[in-house]
Symmetry: D2
Subunit: 481 residues, 4 copies
């Protein structure tokens, strides 16, 4: 049995890292109040994997070792696997109400699995074997792995090798018999800090002359030369206050890390691409494709909790039977289930790669993500509509519990009999949390930009749509030669 317990996981990440939060270097980051909820969230994944009820979704059998493994370390072997991935993600979103950080490496591994196979086939390299060995370690130790793609990009109107600073895209700066040395940064890294390892990938399709940027490798997240800076999120310091309710989701949360690679050495066994520029575009596409599929699960799960909270507040306010309220909740559900439909559809129509693993349908995964850049915003807007202005005019928990004025506030925050003011308080803060608080970062902005900004999907939709075939359909009906 290869599954770590939550406690084992927690112990395993207690390691020295070079991390800065709000301008200060942090020791024992696992105790930092801003960071703690993000660790709780990952622990929840390890916890759920131990629960019988969720076994089928959270665990599976490795095709590499035959062992039972956490599904987040699995290489998909069927469309059923692809569907279960999305269902697992919805489940964990429902249990945590935030970004749970472990998908990125999962998606990176599944993309690299087939790409390394295809590079090897062309170039007689042995990336695929190396990658499998690397991944067997991950599976057998139930490690959490980040996948890192986004470079800072500098001036977006210029190519990597045209930037004033050549490091705006991560690149190989040195190479020797033992391995390579890389420099650059990977930003927007949700899962880096809480992961044991990370898989680094290039961020765009590279061209001739840009070979130094065509690099993919595995790396320990506390490797020498790696500096992490914690991203600011809306309302982050509420987690550092004495009272806990104001943060909204006081148990769970995501995080974002800005990661700098200052001449980091990578041994050659952990290098999975080195200069093969013609495979970079496809690596980006496959990783992004898997990750766009993911959002049809995780954001839907978070959406479920927001719909639930919104229904609760309607009930607490005594308006749950009002027709326009019910209709808006139906609309929230409709949009949320449309996202889920897209997540399921691209999984269900997945196909097998030559390497043997299964991949989601590329066009439909992009359709999925494109909708994710729109619907959570509308779901959030409807939640704000139903919750009322109080989500951003309500006094603090400190006021609510103050000796001088707490009672007065409680008097006026009361609604229906039998409804606890504190419960109402919690639900309102939870809605604030997802619409403009700390988790709005993952529910809104990450929905927009994670796995690629909207325009990236549109380009892929144009490519996948086979417009020439559609023209031919019209021509056939119209007898046009």
């Amino acid at each position: 049995m290869t599954l770590m317990t939550p406690k084992e996981y927690l112990e395993s990440i207690k390691r020295d890292v070079d991390l800065y939060v709000l301008g200060e270097k942090v020791k024992d980051f696992w105790n930092h109040p801003i960071i703690k909820p993000s660790i709780n969230t990952v622990m929840k994944i390890y916890e759920l994997a131990q629960v019988d009820e969720y076994n089928d979704l959270l665990t599976t059998k490795s095709h590499l070792t035959g062992d039972i493994i956490n599904r987040f370390t699995h290489i998909h072997q069927s469309t059923e696997d692809l569907i279960k991935k999305v269902q697992m993600q919805r489940l964990i979103g429902q249990k945590t109400g935030c970004c749970f950080q472990r998908c990125v490496g999962y998606d990176a591994a599944n993309a690299l699995y087939s790409i390394t196979y295809e590079i090897d086939k062309k170039y007689n390299t042995n990336y695929h074997e190396h990658f499998k060995e690397y991944w067997i370690e991950v599976q057998s130790q139930d490690l959490m792995v980040d996948g890192a793609m986004t470079d800072p990009k500098g001036n977006r109107s210029k190519r990597p090798n045209q930037q004033s600073d050549p490091d705006m895209y991560l690149r190989i700066v040195e190479e020797n018999d033992d391995g390579i040395v890389v420099r650059g940064a990977k930003i927007h890294q949700t899962g880096f800090l809480n992961s044991h390892r990370a898989i680094i990938m290039p961020t765009l399709a590279l061209r001739s002359g840009e070979n130094e940027y065509a690099v993919s490798f595995g790396v320990n997240t506390n490797a020498k030369g790696i500096t992490m800076i914690y991203g600011r999120q809306s309302c982050d310091t509420r987690k550092m206050e004495n009272n806990k309710l104001d943060i909204g989701n006081f148990k769970y949360g995501g995080q974002e890390i800005f990661v700098i690679f200052d001449d980091v050495f990578v041994p050659k066994e952990e290098v999975f691409m080195k200069g093969e520029i013609e495979f970079t575009g496809e690596l980006v596409n496959r990783f992004a494709g898997f990750h766009r599929q993911s959002y049809g699960g995780c954001k839907v799960g978070v959406g479920d909790t927001l719909i639930g909270a919104t229904s609760l507040i309607a009930e607490y306010n005594g308006v749950d039977k009002v027709s326009h309220i019910q209709d808006k909740i139906i609309e929230m559900i409709h949009l949320n289930e449309t996202l889920y439909s897209c997540g399921i559809a691209c999984s269900s129509l997945g196909h097998q790669r030559e390497a043997g693993n299964y991949e989601m349908d590329m066009l439909l995964a992009n359709i999925c993500k494109q909708n994710v850049t729109r619907f959570p915003y509308e779901i959030a807007r409807l939640a704000e509509d139903i919750a009322g202005g109080i989500i951003c005019t309500m006094p603090s928990e400190a006021d609510l519990k103050s000796k001088e004025i707490g009672e007065k506030i409680s008097k006026y925050l009361a609604t229906c009999e039998d409804i606890s003011v504190e419960d109402r308080y919690k639900v309102l803060r939870y809605i604030e949390n997802l619409t403009m608080g700390v988790s709005s970062v993952s529910y809104r902005t990450e929905s927009m930009h994670g796995a690629g900004s909207p325009q990236a999907q549109r380009i892929m939709i144009a490519r996948g749509a086979n417009l020439e075939e559609k023209k031919k359909l019209a021509k056939e009906i119209l007898d046009i030669k």
Copy 2:
């Protein structure tokens, strides 16, 4: 081999029916120019079933007889069957650009298959056996079957038995040892005329005291007492003109029939429900569910042809490289594939009924249809945007071919070199056909109301969403008891 050829089908529907078109009784309806395209469309289904390339989608093996049958007569035996149904529908939509009329009976049969089983289980009736016998005939003769549900409904604020005229909902008016006599009407019947048989079902969940309305049965479409009146559609008489291009889609089309049952006798072997009011709601839901799934296929196929035609006209006008044109086409594709995702998802997550057959996921089928009530309208709007005002200011084909002025018109309708004016003419008329012409009836209004109006889906979404569970998710995260 049980498959009919297109020609055999054509011969088989040449029978006497009591049909009125534009106020006149019609003989030999299969020669009527308004009706002909709708027959061509059905023939196309029979034709495609004979083509090797489409075998896998258009045909399958009957679980009742083991014979190869047309998939439109199949009872789903797996989620794969459900997925293939949607893919087949997309294919035929792509080939015809209109409503092909054969889904309704297919969906009715799949709903009745499990409902009859469940009624029998409760009441020891033998509807299920009767239905299977009835359906084996359909399969073995490759018959086209309509499914008829919608009653005229009279005053919508009153129940069936409160109407001033009790016939506003079809009902049993007499019963004897041999069978029953029914009276009423079924309206919006797309496939009735071109079908050999029809399955009649109640249109809503009935209550105690409304037993006479709880009736389902099979009937030949030319049975004594049945009168059909052809519905008017936008631009229908263009099909009667000498020139053929103005109609837009000069080969294929749908139709709508208003069917009156004037004391029609039904032998007891063909009665599949009689008074079991508590099963009416579920019969409506299952039929509607299957039919809402269908729209995630057929409308997508039609959408493909509209996207193709729109791309063609952009090319013909010399604007296909313009960024806002490309972006609008991407949006059309995005919306169309979102519909497809919904069709696939509710199929992929289907489940088995006690009777052994498979049914789509009810919630997601309603999500699918709800989107169908919106996106085709936006796709059509974008098509009109790209096509330009010419789709409704362009002179007639008669003008274009007139000796006096044809040349002048051709001169001014020319665009790019190598583009034939007639081809441009055809494509523009095709876009008109789908956005406001005869096929806008199926692409727009049927998308809105077919398989139930939008509000019907919203009620089902509310029911299927399990809001209490969602509230519990929020409570668990927030430690609310």
Copy 3:
């Protein structure tokens, strides 16, 4: 008193024109059943101008002659005039439910009034005086005038002088002491046939070397060399049927004319621009601006009738108290009044030109029209939702009145007591008329493309928005130098 009566107007347009309808040359076009409703509509304008209640909107005092004139011939002298223009247009839309054709020349005259003044100022030409003389004739005889702008454009990726056929944009082909000779075509001409005169303008901003295309002039609509071809509209031939109700709006309607200029002579007194390319862009903008303002009135009036018809059908069906129905009607009103707000706002913030006349705010007029390319589609969609599928499955009027089956159809089309089946029939056909029938051409497609396609407004919005100023606002708040 310079106002024509409806009857005088009718007599005045009885003149020989070179007109083709459905491939046939037409004599006495005023008797043609397809054309008649469009004449009725114009007559309605003349009629309303005689009604005391509407005096204030329909008439005003000429600043040129001091006489009371029809407002459609007025040159705006204040923002109040601009507002009244929009209110008059809404009124006539409400009375006719269709495009009333007389705005185009009104808008053209107001644009030319200031442009001719400005050309004269630069070049010492005397276009402005000529135009005033020309327009005094129009005012004093209460003439209807068309404004014609849109050329066929050929290959849209090429400039006028790069087309294979130089006539794809109307141009001067000859010039002498008496005047000029022009060749080309103006398409999408709503008001040409029913107008006494037309003002011709170029369709885009012209550049050096394209001077022959920079031409504006007045012309009689029956001038030698002008050929008109009647555009096909959805359901147009229903107007030729014996029964009148199927057309939906059996009194009023619009039309679209394809106009060819085959070497038409124009005397120099009626030429208002000739080669002054640098004024073409501004002429297009001003005319389009006025016309984009117009749509904030006329389409709103038509929308009012559609909202009214939709409310009626909800009442006839017994669902007018249902909350989702009421909410959808509120949404229709909301969208319609948003359009009106845009029409009013660009009028209210109008400004005076050097020539003395008033012009609407250019940015807001483009905002107005951009919304018009969207909201009528959504209003129409909601109307279809509420009306039900019957709008396109209902038998013809001939069936309804047939001796054999009329009674049966009436039985099943009945809804609430006291509601006449014929009234319900009329209302359903009216909704069909505006959503997919003959008036959908003006309510939908003309809303999209009339006064310029959506992208044309976006270009103007970008120009008018003063983005640099907005950047400066952000910089000031943020102390960015």
Copy 4:
């Protein structure tokens, strides 16, 4: 000259109030870092009123005294006044990028002005004279006045007098010859703290038996018995940090106060309604109407700064020439100017009340606000799209300026040459501020709920739309009796 300088204003609000912030009683609130930006914002209003360029918008002549006054204390005397109000609000929104708090009392005064006149007319009371005297003081001292309407409402399914706690709506608990004593709370009070005075109004149309709730009066904001609790806003404590940039808008901001009235005495001269229940509905409507008009100005001004900031970041990233970026910015402008059009239109079509003052068009003011509940959300979504994920993954200012890692971060946050990293940092934080930070409270949630939640507008739209008249229009066209 009655205008206060910013400095005089600041001095004038330095008074003892009973205020709690984050659980602590606050002394000298004008020095509190969370509160300071909101005071700066009000000071900006006083500052702009002294600037010649803005004289025409910011000041006007009192119809009560003939003196030059700040427009925020004006009673509208014409539609021009109404238009200038909206333009002034847009201007101040542009200068501050947040809610400037002074409109509420302005709108309350304009509503009460006509309502007191009408009560007096019916009851021979002398509210109107009292109100005028009260308001002359406000004008002559250039006071800032809040308008307070929203009660806590308790169980929304019950009327005020059915609540378990009768104080859930503010009410008269005692009355004597000198005045009245009131108890209750007014929540969501944006301008209370920074105002010298407040006008209290009932929150809904009251019925017989609810007379004690029908009360309106003026009160000093530091009156005995008034307790204020400061509402928590997203990211509020960033204002208390050492670094100033992270807050986004480091100069200006809004605030929200929860105000409790604990048996506050009001002298009878400052009571403007007492028990006249039949005028409560109309008072609510008129106040809400004026305030819904306001949003067509202030939110548009804030939107201008967000569009500006978004354009800046596109430029800083080197993507300002990319077509999809430009198109999204055009869409932002389009939506923003549509809101402005609505604000202008309801002003332009205003009308005079019997009391002599002018009021905006009620229907169009509700149309305006309904759009405000939608478009800022979409504008914000587009801003997030263009800004990129960095708005919520970016390290803190403390990191950026840290000795250890500041340089590294600067290296990787650089984009185009000549673009300062700090400027980019500021703009990104500004976009965060408006989309999820402290000003998202006013730009998003206040847009939703301020001046009444969306459903409140829909009810008013239904009332104002005159549906019967619209039905009649359809009937006239269709000859339906």
